[in-house]
């Protein structure tokens, strides 16, 4: 009975916590520029994420270690330096983008410039992490995040042609601007499959003491939660495609993206979009910050945990505080949050093989997962997708940056 409750809570939390700056910005741009055509990218990314998240939980439940800890033990510090530094750098970028996203959301509600909100928001993120344990943080983020279901509602109300949507799940070549299409496809994958999620999920499973017996809960939560969460992302894309696309509105800013709610929500369009953006980004900001503490502590062997009094894990607390400070400083520099978001998620795809490939090796090492190893097909698929994605990203990012 309590396992069912865990499952339901897990799925609801996953749905609520799914969209954030990356998914909203990439889906909004994809919808306005290419209609439904990039829905397949969201679908592929969601399935990849579901597989990886399930593996994270499985690794944590069976080996009782998070991903970062297992990588250090299995591969040594030499190897780990690469994914570790890459991940921390991207986390700082992404965190700055999420904080920027919340700041824009507040600006949409108050008309006060977004840079004024960066510091208070950073402080609020820190306060949440200072005072709350893992459970309240996760459930809080997940439940509040259900406001993002407004994207699904909006997409449904706009009555898109089901046939058109179905066809969009088959990858197709664009009729215009191939570089931009490829860049968005890559960014969608990067926005959905954020590397921080892998370690975060594993560390969270360790915090919640997930056991081998509950692997079915983990599997169900991962697949159901991520797939339903993916539907929210699709809601953003479909709404954008039906509202912004035909009006040739290019999403150059979150303010323009907010216009997608006007037909369905009218005078509530901007406040609702702001709420969804704000809550989604805030949740992600909290998770990224917490995860940076996890990763540093687990690699170096410090005492860690959101469920411990903060002073009993002083280095853990200091680590995530420092990362947060760096991101707030970056956000204060005033880079356009939308552009920063897109850059971060695209770079994510470049480093993804460094994070995913060792992960796959671990998932086949009986010393870590005992008999619960992954299937060859699953491994092959993930390996191929991450490497292909990285190659594409390396080709496309410079082209986009030079052309854009």
């Amino acid at each position: 009975m309590s396992a069912i409750l865990d499952l339901v809570l897990g799925v609801v939390t996953s749905i609520g916590g799914f969209v954030e700056a990356g998914s909203i910005s990439t889906a909004a741009q994809a919808g306005s520029e290419f209609g439904f055509q990039l829905l397949w990218a969201i679908a592929v990314a969601t399935v990849m994420l579901a597989m990886l998240v399930e593996m994270s939980g499985r690794l944590a439940a069976v080996s009782r270690r998070s991903l970062a800890a297992a990588v250090r033990e299995r591969f040594g510090i030499h190897f780990q330096m690469v994914p570790l530094t890459a991940e921390l750098i991207i986390d700082v970028l992404l965190l700055a983008a999420e904080i920027g996203g919340v700041a824009i959301a507040v600006k949409l509600l108050t008309a006060v410039g977004f840079q004024w909100w960066v510091l208070p928001i950073g402080l609020l993120v820190w306060l949440v992490l200072w005072t709350l344990g893992f459970g309240p943080i996760e459930y809080g983020i997940g439940l509040l995040g259900l406001v993002t279901l407004c994207f699904v509602y909006s997409a449904w109300r706009l009555q898109p042609a089901i046939g058109d949507i179905g066809a969009a799940f088959v990858p197709s070549l664009p009729t215009h601007d191939s570089t931009r299409y490829a860049y968005l496809a890559v960014s969608i994958v990067g926005a959905t499959v954020s590397p921080y999620l892998l370690n975060f999920y594993a560390a969270g499973s360790v915090e919640e003491k997930l056991t081998e017996k509950e692997l079915w809960v983990n599997r169900s939560t991962a697949y159901l939660g991520m797939c339903f969460g993916g539907v929210v992302s699709m809601g953003v894309l479909v709404t954008s495609a039906m509202v912004l696309g035909p009006r040739h509105i290019i999403v150059d800013s979150y303010e323009q993206a907010a216009l997608m709610f006007v037909p369905v929500f009218q005078q509530w369009a901007v406040p609702l979009f702001a709420a969804a953006l704000g809550v989604g980004c805030f949740g992600a900001a909290v998770e990224i910050t917490l995860n940076s503490g996890y990763v540093c502590s687990q690699v170096f062997g410090w005492s860690w945990g959101a469920n411990k009094p903060r002073r009993d894990a002083a280095r853990f607390t200091s680590a995530f505080t420092i990362v947060l400070i760096m991101s707030v400083a970056l956000a204060l520099l005033g880079f356009d949050p939308l552009r920063l978001t897109l850059l971060s998620v695209a770079l994510t795809v470049v480093i993804m093989p460094a994070v995913v490939l060792p992960f796959l090796v671990l998932m086949n090492d009986e010393k870590y997962v005992k008999q619960h190893t992954s299937t060859a097909i699953g491994n092959g698929l993930l390996a191929a997708l991450t490497v292909a994605g990285a190659i594409m990203a390396i080709v496309v990012i410079p082209l986009e940056l030079l052309g854009g």
Binding site: A69, G76, T131, F300, G301, W302, R310, R311, S318
Partner: protein, 118 residues
């Protein structure tokens, strides 16, 4: 036991189960006419950095010196103090009494001064 696979980089906990760190390095004693003996395990950011690159190790050691936390570091735990090696390494020490706790204790003093630290 394979030293690299089963001992290096493993978690180290003290006799009370508290996290001490990870096995950052191992010390071997080369002996004439006898197999090398595992002498001790070592914990410390400078030793860890040294594994990545010698210069990085020096730099971290300089940082430790600059912050005044380098006394007793790297922490050297003789093999005799190792209680068991399984999923992690348990040693017959108390974390708080070793140099592995220096930075943690320093930071704890700062954090304690902020309300709500417990």
């Amino acid at each position: 036991m394979d030293l690299v696979r089963d001992l290096l980089d493993k978690r180290v906990v003290d006799r009370n189960g508290r996290e001490m760190g990870r096995v950052d390095s191992l010390i071997l004693e080369a002996r004439e006419g006898a197999p090398p003996r595992l002498a001790a395990i070592e914990l410390g950011p400078a030793v860890l950095a040294n594994r990545v690159h010698r210069l990085l190790g020096r730099w971290v050691a300089a940082l430790e010196h600059g912050f005044g936390v380098d006394e007793g570091r790297p922490l050297r735990i003789p093999v005799a103090a190792v209680l068991e090696i399984q999923d992690h390494v348990k040693v017959d020490l108390a974390f708080g009494e070793t140099s592995a706790a220096t930075v943690e204790q320093r930071l704890r003093r700062w954090i304690r001064s902020i309300p709500g630290s417990s």
